[in-house]
């Protein structure tokens, strides 16, 4: 029995931060209810008080803006959007205000705000209850975008995000909540030093992924291993600012790249990953043209038949890897 799952690892990060840092508070919808955030915030309001765990009106824009303003006043707020789709109302606070602030005031003030957006999809919820918008956010200079795939990262990168002086989009995925792991004591890490990490070494191809896609990659790697194919899995972890160094090294070694991403194809993270690698490699260093697996460029459907083909699965990843190996 492991000591944490992905959800309780997030809860542990909240507890650590709220215990140790008086300037941390949490604001968002659903924080006093068990309905919205799984097991990731259980009883925080009872333990730390409703003045620090603020469940709010249905006002994504004002609550996110208020967190930005509080962060300019010496606080380290965490805004929680239990479903990332709803936070599109908060785009001005995130994109125009938080992300720009440091630059436009000459580096004299920094909004140390963490915005937690939860990807909560599947179950025939459809177009406005399913989105994964990390590629969008990764396009914005000034905004750090963190996507933990592992139980350890769910905890440690949330802590690192909140302790970072920059605005951070921390995006977790409900499809990862059942992952378990044994975690050591909390270690504070500097988010600026965090980048992509190789989760499993391989020699035949590199699968590059983030968030839930990384879990798919790891599962596919096991199946491929049974077929005699050795896949390396690189987990991006921090999508912006994006440091492609490790990915480039991996692909240089294996000669084959599969970019796996749970957002849309056009201008999505998979495109950035492939472009960053290709522009750093000589033409002869690739043994096959890079491939990618993404969502189809369509809104999420509701009908189960369509939903089944909408989200990438392990079989798709294995097939794509086999196709790469056939070249």
């Amino acid at each position: 029995m492991k000591n944490y799952n992905y959800g309780t690892a997030i809860l542990a990060a909240f507890e650590y931060l709220l215990d140790k840092y008086q300037e941390v508070f949490v604001i968002g919808q659903g924080l006093w209810s068990p309905w919205y955030v799984g097991n990731s915030m259980t009883d925080l309001d009872k333990r730390y008080g409703v003045h620090r765990i603020i469940d709010t009106p249905v006002s994504e824009s004002a609550c996110t803006g208020a967190a930005v303003g509080a962060s300019l006043s010496g606080m380290r707020p965490i805004v929680v959007h239990p479903r990332i789709d709803f936070m599109l109302y908060a785009m001005d606070a995130v994109v125009n205000q938080a992300a720009k602030w440091s630059h436009m005031v000459g580096g004299q003030a920094h909004p140390a705000v963490t915005i937690r957006g939860i990807i909560n999809r599947g179950g025939e919820q459809g177009a406005q209850h399913s989105q994964a918008l990390h590629s969008w956010f990764a396009h914005i200079p000034g905004l750090r975008v963190v996507m933990p795939a592992t139980v350890a990262d769910a905890r440690d990168l949330l802590i690192a995000s909140v302790l970072c002086d920059d605005p951070v989009m921390y995006i977790d995925d409900r499809w990862l909540y059942s992952q378990t792991d044994d975690l050591p004591e909390v270690r504070e890490i500097d988010l600026r030093a965090v980048g992509p990490r190789c989760l499993a070494v391989g020699t035949d191809l590199s699968i590059v992924a983030s968030g839930y896609s990384t879990l798919l990659a790891l599962k596919a790697r096991d199946e491929l291993a049974a077929q005699g194919v050795s896949a390396e899995v690189v987990d991006l972890r921090v999508l912006n600012p994006f440091d492609p160094t490790l990915v480039v090294e991996s692909v240089r070694k294996t000669g084959r790249m599969l970019a796996l991403d749970g957002s849309w194809r056009t201008c999505g993270m998979s495109a950035e990953v492939i472009a960053s690698v290709v522009e750093h490699l000589a033409p002869g260093e690739l043994r096959a043209a890079p491939r990618r697996i993404t969502l189809p460029d369509a809104p999420a459907p509701t009908s189960r038949i369509l939903e089944k083909i909408y989200y990438p699965d392990v079989d798709q990843v294995v097939l794509a890897a086999q196709a790469l190996m056939a070249r």
Binding site: G69, Q97, G106, Q108, P141
Partner: protein, 349 residues
């Protein structure tokens, strides 16, 4: 007007033909009044200098001038201290100057220089002077309203009696986040003061063709926030309304809303009058509003009390002109930011 919920029209407050007389300065001392007239005239001369420089092509970016509206920032700032948290918008030269920012810092910023308030990275529309209590201004017109609520919420969490101020215009009230912010501020009992400078125009559009009623304080009433609707060209009226709101906020009474009715003499942006580019802004309107001049009305009151004479005019103007011209010359000679600033300031060091 103390009961804006019952008001359906600004009425005389929106008319240039009313409120042209000397203001009532009550029992204010000559020193207090001199501070107010000095503050207002300083802002006006600075903004006129910016208008001139923009017209001459010396300023590269847009400047949104608030000449005619000086009484609001000066009156509100009278009641604040440097640990308070003030946010502005696109037309914020007056807000930052009234808090005590240096003229050279503003000029240098408008010119994109490293010695500017925002180190040359913001220009006229992104001003910052946190040491003086100015947390920032942005041109997304309602963009800082929620930020001010958050700054006030932070003060509350920090057990401080500092207050936050959100300056916004009558146009910003048409953006949804203002309504979310009013509700949030009230339900969280946040020490924040919403100061609406209702100058009757958003860009080229008169309020009568943008909103069914011209009293923006109706939204405060809807959110159960105490509101005052006042003559924004009466610096004493502004000071009194601000004093009441600041005391309320400092003592745990939550948010307040002040609607100060005013008029901008220049057009929406830069030095032009903007006659006929929109609707309901004639040359006559502008001329009539200039007769409701907040500075002239304070001056008239001071003259009537024997506190002021034509000699004072000349002295004050000479003193301010000297400060402003020196500041302008220095700003013109200030260096630009290093090229490295482009990438070095995206994230915290």
């Amino acid at each position: 007007m103390k009961n804006p919920g019952a008001i359906y029209s600004l009425g005389e407050l929106a008319s240039p033909f009313s409120f042209q007389q000397a203001i009532d300065v009550g029992s204010r001392t000559p020193e207090q009044l001199r501070t107010l007239i000095f503050g207002m005239l300083r802002i006006r001369l600075v903004e006129n200098r910016l208008a001139q420089a923009r017209r001459q092509g010396l300023i590269g970016g847009p400047v949104h001038l608030g000449v005619g509206q000086e009484a609001i920032a000066v009156g509100v700032s009278e009641c604040l201290r440097s640990s308070d948290r003030v946010f502005g918008a696109h037309r914020s030269h007056s807000h930052v100057l009234a808090l005590g920012s240096s003229v050279r810092g503003l000029f240098s910023e408008v010119l994109g220089k490293d010695a500017g308030l925002s180190r040359g990275m913001g220009g006229s529309m992104h001003l910052w002077d946190q040491p003086n209590g100015f947390y920032g201004s942005v041109p997304i017109v309602a963009g800082t309203v929620a930020l001010a609520v958050g700054a006030g919420l932070a003060a509350k969490l920090q057990s401080s009696d500092d207050v936050a101020v959100a300056y916004l215009g009558d146009g910003a009230v048409e953006e949804g986040v203002v309504h979310e912010s009013l509700n949030l501020a009230r339900i969280q009992n946040v020490p924040v003061i919403f100061v609406v400078e209702n100058n009757l125009f958003a860009s080229h559009m008169h309020i009568s063709i943008r909103q069914p009623k011209d009293v923006t304080a109706r939204f405060a009433t809807a959110n159960d926030i105490p509101a005052r609707v006042i003559d924004g060209n009466d610096v004493i009226a502004v000071t009194e309304a601000a004093e009441e709101a600041v005391i309320r906020a400092r003592h745990g009474g939550g948010p307040s809303f002040i609607e100060a009715v005013t008029y901008r003499w220049y057009g929406h942006v830069d030095w032009r009058d903007d006659i006929d580019v929109g609707v309901n802004r004639s040359q006559d309107d502008v001329a009539n509003w200039k007769a409701r001049d907040p500075i002239a009305r304070l001056r008239a009151a001071m003259v009537a009390q024997g506190y002021w004479s034509a000699d004072h005019d000349a002295d004050l103007e000479a003193e301010l002109t000297l400060e402003i011209e020196e500041a302008w010359e220095r700003a013109m000679q200030d260096p630009y930011p290093e090229v490295s600033a482009l990438l070095d300031r995206v994230y915290a060091k």
